[in-house]
Symmetry: C2
Subunit: 642 residues, 2 copies
């Protein structure tokens, strides 16, 4: 088989591949990440590249416009290498895997409670304080009495006895590696050692034994493994202090934008391996960065606690996720045992532990369990609703007496996928929009005030609300044809220009198309209908709810009024609605710091009844009724009616 | 550094070593095993070799006679390589590491209860029956209900639920490797699987998951890791059937004959590693042989249970034994956690378990715990005594109310070390002796009726009893000078010829010297005094004892009368004394087959009070008084008085 070189711009990366390899696969092989929403099926049209040089064979695709074809655009997944190539990746097809800048980071961290003072006001902080401080891994300094002829129990029993004087430990475990070092270590340290005790499913393990008093050097990380972004927080396990937080893109995005496409990709040769490494690499990078910034030795990082959806946790542990998407949608495990982090490839102390927040089902993961814990819903007397708008929409209704949850396949539109100019809440994303009523002039603000590159979730919410308000679209989302220069018929039907080419950073107009509006409408309808079905199923209505928590990666901005206006959120008193940011990460942190919180999380995961929307007869009706802005039944949105 | 080749005869093995390496080290490096009792200190004089060719530098040694010097004898440990060499290892210096023949094996197995019928009469068999059948690893066949939309708990929880329907399991553990395979395995096997459940310190681990019903293929091995010999027994864990037994030399003997010399050797560079591999290699060979003979796949061997003295268990696990021989004689662990056998290098199913019988102290190991369990002493109403005569003399006195034990440093004389022509109970060993009263003609029988190569423990006991009886030696062991041709003065003082050169297989007379008699006297005195002190300490005397169990590797023959005659055993009714053979192996088997027995063993190990003879004032007096045949105080031996 002939081999050819493919060079990618602007990355300047070169790979060598066999003739017939797709450009998408070539790019992945040398670490160039191209957007791809359909797992290489040629359907989503997001992996457009520009061929600068060389010969290819390409399947025809309706996703490439005539204009684009003239400019040598191709779909990377439908185009195979037939000679040495040079390929340009246009900005809209790039997955921006560059590190977030300091400013972006600060921006994103709002709602993540970086400082202790801020912490004390959040719902998660209130909850966290209720749990006993007993981290996943604890360091205890011990001064053992040396053996004498009268007291000559073995070294290991001596250690156990000393630990049990301080803590009540039922079942104690120690690995051979620690036993092998024990005799010499105890004596060379003059019987003064620090043991790290880890919780492992009902037992206590001596994870580490170190000479001298190292009890003040004990650090751990809480992670939220999102489909789109991975957030990690470094914690001083002794003082509970948050030492830093990082957010990075989940590099798995290169293999598919959502869990379904990734599960499909996992079945490719080495697919599971690649997905596993993609998430682990990001986690290791976050760990590296945070520990270096804080001058912490990796050996003093003794544990990692992860919350993530069920597929993410499977991929993290390199467990085949295939059966998650096959009827009847059963994961391999919802409760994963605590393992050594090194077994999953995570680089902390080689004997350090990795634990995952238990999930409920294939589509209600540990991230939601952590969210419920963090918002304290399981302890509330009043009726609460948690809506986590991520790549999926996960919803839990309940209080201390019951918990019921569902997953609405909303799709990633609010995260910027599946919409023409969608992007994540990163630099250059249009996040806030106003439209002048007279000439439809668009006033927008972008993240970090950069030249616009696309539109993020909160931008789309504002945009639709404004377009509705200004009657640019009707209640069904159809664009009202007028002579305004911003309204025009494009290749995919009617579109509205949000920013003209001259204003943007991407050398083209940023528009919202009728197709985009339709996608967003379906996403919001799925979420609203899911919440509605849950509420109805339990014989309540939205006005019975006392607290709604909105979680998700909207950055620092979400206009709740607009979210209600488009019918994403139910029309209840605004003061009852709280935007809680990344509740999964907050919950993971609580669990990292308290085994009591882990037990509570297990209780929550067992308690949540999973409600399968796809087999509910009423869901489709409810969803169809929600396919209007805000809703077919305006009685549900009294404040809109006025 | 120059390198030279050393060739060893009769092995015909060649090694290349650096100039200045000792011949002993050279031999070990190419797998030639030479006797060595002092760990290479030049003291024991047992590593004599004959230099055939080449130059050496040798330290002068009183251990080489003038005659030997003329024949080019050297101490291998005191002689360094200075050119290419050819070296002959004389029979008396060889450690016979050849495999035991079938006949030898059959011989040795008497007392090991190979057949079920024989089993039912032994004390260990009676005990074994009392324990619930619950092996260290159990296989359970499960037919799981496939998941449906109504019953969609995860695969792992489904498995747990099915197991818990059959067994009550508090804490269940599963490793990542099994979780990774689980989803595919359950489906490809159509939800019919066999799980292997292992006991791991208070928790239950899913060790294996196999497709289909493999519950009838579950095997384990019980091992007695002796300082001198290693015995292994292959057991069908489901039927309890003993499928075979093997006894092999502990190859560690090449590094020293007893635990002390091996502990010293462990401090050499790579010493611990070599000792570890020596024991593991023998165990793996036994496992290989037994499984092959029975046509059993190694993957169906799921667990191994070992009893051994504390040093042997440390070396087995590659745990530094240094502190066992340093005051106050504390081991790293008496209770070792169950580990994966592969962690110690034992080749069974890669996920199979290795468990060790808990020990009491540095010098009272798990072999004694197993012995007490097997003899059922801990359940007896009546006062019992267990004397295990191995390389050390280990003694336990007690019943269901109390247990007290001690270790008498008897030395390995009864195992054939430290005596001029001593050997283990193997082919050609003089095991039974009669001396004619008139001309001192020696009638002896050897193991397998081969030409004699040396004298084993039971032979020495008979020999001394007969020499006493025929007044060849007096009560202090001094040879009575007469003109008989068998009595003569040799290089090391007076000696008695047991077999003349012409009768033997080793081209020299086999003699017993006054030094040998002294060594044997000190060994028997140590054991008797130990037992005596224990009995006295508890305010009993020997006549209060209702059962004495004698354990040890005496083969199939031990003349109890003669053992009393020389003062090794107390003078009580003969019917109260039972020779139980390898009680350590029998106990290990019980524990392998029953977790209840393991819990009992843990109870026994905790219950036995260790009595330190070396710090007891009376012990030295008692020992001195026992340095006569049978004893200074003949009132203690009334049947001898008559």
């Amino acid at each position: 088989m002939k081999k050819f070189k493919v060079k990618f711009y602007p990355d300047n990366k070169i790979c060598e591949v066999e003739q017939g390899t797709t450009i998408l696969a070539s790019a992945i092989s040398c670490g160039v990440y191209i957007n791809s929403s359909c797992g290489g099926e040629g359907v989503c049209g997001r992996c457009k590249v520009i061929l600068l040089k060389g010969n290819v064979i390409s399947q025809p695709s309706g996703r490439i416009t005539l204009e684009e074809r003239a400019k040598n655009y191709y779909l990377a997944c439908q185009t195979t290498v037939q000679s040495d190539l040079e390929v340009q990746i246009p900005p809209e097809s790039r997955i921006d895997l560059e590190k977030l800048s300091k400013e972006e980071l600060d921006l994103r961290l709002k709602g993540l409670y970086t400082k202790s003072e801020e912490l004390s006001f959040s719902p998660s902080a209130k909850r966290e304080k209720l749990f006993q401080h007993s981290p996943l891994a604890t360091k205890i300094y011990l001064e053992l009495p040396p053996p004498t002829l009268e007291d000559k129990i073995s070294d290991l029993e001596r250690l156990y006895r000393a630990i049990r004087k301080i803590q009540s430990v039922q079942i104690m475990q120690t690995g051979l590696a620690n036993i092998r070092r024990l005799g010499g270590l105890l004596r060379s340290s003059e019987w003064k050692v620090t043991v790290t005790l880890g919780k492992r499913g009902g037992t206590t393990e001596i994870v580490l034994i170190e000479p001298g008093d190292t009890s003040q050097y004990n650090f751990g990380l809480a992670f939220d493994i999102g489909t789109t972004t991975i957030s990690g927080q470094l914690i001083n396990l002794r003082t509970k202090e948050i030492l830093g937080t990082k957010i990075e893109h989940n590099m798995q995005a290169a293999f598919g934008p959502d869990v379904i496409t990734r599960i499909i990709y996992a079945q490719e040769p080495d697919g599971l391996e690649k997905l596993h490494h993609a998430v682990i690499d990001v986690m290791n990078e976050i760990i590296q960065d945070l520990t270096q910034e804080n001058g912490i030795d990796l050996n003093n990082v003794t544990c990692v606690l992860c919350a993530g959806n069920t597929t993410m946790i499977h991929l993290l542990l390199r467990v085949d996720p295939t059966y998650i998407r096959r009827q009847p949608y059963v994961p391999t495990a919802n409760f994963v045992p605590t393992i050594r982090a090194a077994e999953a490839g995570i680089k902390i102390n080689p004997r350090g532990l990795l634990s995952c927040v238990p999930g409920v089902s294939s589509y209600l993961g540990g991230d939601l369990t952590a969210g419920v814990l963090s918002c304290g819903i399981d302890a509330e007397k009043e009726l609460c609703l948690l809506i986590d708008i991520g790549t999926n929409g996960e919803i839990v209704l309940g209080n201390k007496d019951f918990l019921i949850g569902c997953a609405a396949s909303a799709g990633p539109a609010f995260e910027g996928s599946g919409v023409a100019y969608g992007m994540r809440a990163a630099k250059g994303a249009i996040q806030k929009v106003n439209i002048e009523p007279d000439d439809y002039t668009v006033k927008f603000s972008t993240i970090l005030d950069a030249r616009p590159r696309g539109i993020c979730g909160s931008g789309y919410i504002d945009l639709i609300a404004e377009m509705l308000d200004k009657k640019i679209i009707d209640k069904s989302g159809k664009i009202q044809e007028t002579k305004n220069k911003r309204l025009r018929k494009g290749e995919f039907g009617w579109e509205f220009v949000v920013a003209f080419k001259e204003e943007t950073d991407i050398d083209r107009d940023i528009v919202i198309t009728e197709i985009d509006i339709d996608n967003l409408k379906r996403a919001k309808a799925a979420i609203y209908a899911g919440a509605s079905i849950l509420v109805e199923h339990m014989n309540f209505n939205f006005w019975d709810i006392k607290k709604i928590f909105i979680a998700g990666g909207f950055g620092n901005y979400l206009d709740i009024d607009n979210a209600i206006k488009i019918g994403l959120l139910p029309d209840i008193e605004r003061r009852k609605i709280t935007f809680v940011g990344n509740s999964s990460l907050a919950g993971a942190r609580s669990i990292l710091l308290s085994y009591e919180a882990m037990e509570k999380a297990e209780e929550i995961a067992r308690k949540i009844t999973y409600f399968e929307l796809s087999v509910d007869n009423k869901y489709m009706d409810e969803y169809m009724a929600a396919l209007f802005f805000p809703h077919t039944d305006l009685n549900r949105f009294p404040s809109m009616k006025r």
